[in-house]
Each structure stands twice: as C-alpha cells, then as structure tokens.
Amino acid sequence: MSVILKTDKLRVEYRSRELGQAVKVALNGLDLEVSTGEVFGFLGPNGAGKTTTINCLLGFVQPTSGAASLFGIDVRQPIARQRIGYLPEMTYYYKFLTGEELLRFYASIFALTGAEADKRIDQTLKLVELDAARKRLIKTYSKGMQQRVGLAQALINNPDLLILDEPTSGLDPLGRMKVRDIIQRLKNEGKTVFFSSHELGEVETVCDRVAIIAEGSLKAAGRVQEIMRGHPTLEKAFLNIIGYQADKN
C-alpha cells in the first residue's frame, strides 16, 4: 500500500488582525500518513485543527512551515487535486443551477465532457439517489439533498481519494445512514476516504484507522482497535487521549 496523503511537520499560524493579540497556532508540526484503500477517520474536539489540516491539504491555507502532499505532489500544485474529491462541511451550492448542471460544471473542470461526463453524472446521481431531482434547481433541494449533491460533486471525477469534512453534520438519522452507506460502498470499491467527524460511533463502524488531534498536535494515530485498547468505547478512548477528565468539570 502506497502513501497517498502525507503531511510533514505541518505548522499553521494565524496572525490576529487586532493589535496586541498573539499569534494563534492552529497546527503544530502535524505528521500524518494515509495509504491507498484506507478509510481514515480524523478526530478531534472543536478547534483542534481538523478543518485547518484539510484546508492545508487542499491548498486553501498556506502552511507557515512544513509540507503536505497528495499522491506525492505538493498540494500547492493544482494538479495534486486531479484525483481527489472533497466535500466541505455545510456548503451551499450554486442555487441558480440544477443538480445536473452543477455536476456538469464540475465535470468540465476535470476535463470530463460529452458521453463520459454524461455517464459519470448518471452514475453519481444514482449513487446519491438524486436522479429524480436532477433537473430541479438546487435552491429547491432539502438540506439532506444538498449534502448528497455535495457528495455527488465530490465523486464526479471518480476520485482515488475522498476528503470529507464532517460529512454527516446536521443530517437526520436517515441522511447519516445514507452517507455512511456511500462511504462503505466506496471503501468496498477500494477508494481511500479521509474524513473528519465528531460522530465517534460512525467512525468506529466505517474507519480502518484514526488519528486524534487536539490543540493542533497529533495525540494518537493507529487502527481503531489499537486506539480503543483498554477502553470500553472509542468515545472513552478519545476523551482520555485528549486529556478530558470528567471529574474536573
């Protein structure tokens, strides 16, 4: 198995715009490696640096120091994103487009045109169960449908690596189950999935390996069973690793 996602001593600092405010360290020397075919859960409390890590991996934020690569290509090169799919947390898509038009637009960025694009659009819309609503404007979609069209755009290029930021956030139980099913199906197809989540139960069921970060630093990484060793649930293990002690509160 080859490493397709890697961060090397990744450090991100945010300078405050207010005078007298100190520099905020969002990531502090993060080292991560994700291999082909893995479903990798990226866990951490709010403000731990999960989204910043993903933003670095996608080139949205420039690291202060360190490096990140996808498929061995520096993330600053747009070509590094050719074989990935990305679903951001809580994103709204162009409301003036239909679901099909949105996918066609993203497909064209991946140089998918004509029959090839049509085929991929059909496949992804069926996968996310939006085939019936493909001609409707996105502004008429429910929240769950919007999340699924988001997943469809992430899959339009048949990516080898899927980066999902809180994919089930804000969804009802049925919506969560559908997203979980899709991740499972992708796993079965041999795709690599890297996703951040608060839903530890979900992580426990679908992930091969997990990494836990807190305050910008990696606290633990390994197979789910290894992380859970000595703890009855992943939640207990997680709380223990991030240093949370219930009796203090």
Partner: protein
C-alpha cells in the same frame, strides 16, 4: 482555458437566471418610450434628446450590471462556501479570477448587444437610417470600458469585504473619472505642492474611461465616424488597464487564505 470557460459559463447562467438585466433593460425601454411619446410641437422627427437619454440610460445600466454583478462574484462564493469545492478541484486561483472576469465581461457584452439593438431601433424609427459602424465603434469601446470596470470591481471584491461597499466605491470612482477625469490636470494646475503633484499623478494614473463615454455626443449629434486607428488605440489603452487590474487581483488572491 477549459476551466476558465467553465467558470465563465456559470457566470453567464447566473446572469441569465437573475433579474437585474431584465429589470434594467425593461426600465430603459419604458423610460425611452414614455419620453418618446411626448408630443413636442407635433414634430415626430425630433430624436436627439431621445438618443441622448437612451445612451445615458445604457451607460448607467451597463455600469450597474457590470459593477454589481462582478462585485458579488467572489464574496458570494466565499459567503456561501461554494469556493471550497471549486478550489478543491484542479483549478488555479488565477483561472478562477480570469474565468469570473471573462464571464462578467461576456455578460456585459451580451447586455450591450441588447441595449444597442434597442437604441438602433429607437433611432431608426425616426431617422430611418442605421449608422451601424458608428454603433459598432461606440459599443466596442463601451465594452472595453466595461472590461476595465469589471476588472476593477473584481480587484475591489478582494480588497473590500462587502460587495455593497465595493460597488459603491467603484461606481463613485467611475462616475468621478467620467465627469472630471479629463480635467484633472486643469484642476491640479493652480494647486500648491504636494497636492498638485498628487492630482497630476492621479490624472496620468487613472484609466480615462471618459474618452469612450464622450463618444455619446458624436452618436447623438450625427458626427462623422472616428478613424478606426483611434478606436483601436483607445481599446489598446483600456486593455492595458484591464490586464493590470486582473494581474493585481491575481496577486492579491494568490496567497489569500480560504476558510
């Protein structure tokens, strides 16, 4: 280029499905028709006041369309977080900027075709002639001006947080250039230093959008056509500013954190 065109196409679709252009176009038609229906001494050949009004409305409407449409492009993408999945694709930020620019500029061009076609029909209804080359010169330079305005607005949208403040500032700058841009050197002459040097610098630094704007009078008053060499020289001059603003926008956006 494929990516640029894909972005431009989405901008086109957005404008096609939004109401601004239709509202402004219909408003222009309605105002012109109302003014045209006024009886002035039973002389139905009087046309220049109508051409003047129509061209002014076209300029104002096109500036509103260009500025408001462009000013919201990047901020709306950020606010609605559509920028994230977009930039997660193999698309460079320069391609995004250029695609947005191209889309907005094409929309302006299409809007101008509609506006000038109406203008031509209005003028022909009373003058019974189609000075197409005149209209072509005017519309072409008008489009070049809008190109500069679109590039300026795009740059402004990266500097100013809110589209409303960006639109207001760009509109004020355009209006100021069109009204007094040509006379800034005369305004500077009696000033004391350093104000004098500053105003002189502004005079030479700003894009002189008032040059094509002044062509309105040539069209309204049936002056002979201008030499095409002057038209192309002016287009080249405006193109230089357009590229300058686009490069500046690209440089600002290049290292801007998206989150």
């Amino acid at each position: 280029m494929r990516n640029v065109l894909a972005i431009a196409k989405v901008v086109l679709l957005e404008m096609y499905r939004r109401k601004e252009f239709y509202v402004l176009f219909i408003l222009t038609i309605v105002i012109c028709l109302i003014m045209g229906s006024i009886n002035i001494f039973n002389d139905n050949q009087i046309i220049r006041y109508l051409k003047d009004l129509c061209l002014l409305l076209i300029w104002v409407s096109s500036l509103i369309i260009a500025i408001t449409m462009t000013a919201r492009q990047i901020p709306a993408e950020r606010e609605q977080r559509t920028l994230l999945p977009l930039l997660a694709k193999p698309l460079s930020r320069n391609q995004l900027i250029f695609g947005k620019f191209l889309g907005c500029w094409i929309v302006c061009g299409l809007a101008l075709i509609c506006f000038y076609a109406f203008f031509g029909a209005l003028a022909a209804s009373r003058e019974h002639q189609w000075p197409l080359l005149h209209y072509l010169q005017a519309a072409f330079l008008h489009w070049m001006v809008l190109g500069v305005v679109v590039a300026m607005s795009l740059l402004g949208s990266l500097v100013f947080a809110a589209p409303s403040s960006n639109s207001t500032i760009i509109f004020a700058i355009c209006a100021a250039i069109m009204c007094v841009g040509r006379y800034l050197d005369q305004i500077a002459a009696p000033m004391h230093e350093p104000a004098r040097s500053i105003v002189y610098f502004i005079y030479y630094a700003i894009p002189h959008l008032e040059i094509p704007f002044g062509m309105r009078n040539l069209i309204v008053h049936d002056w002979p056509i201008i030499g095409w060499n002057f038209v192309f020289l002016d287009a080249l001059y405006l193109l230089a500013y357009l590229v300058f603003f686009l490069i500046a926008a690209g440089l600002i956006f290049r290292r801007r954190a998206i989150n």
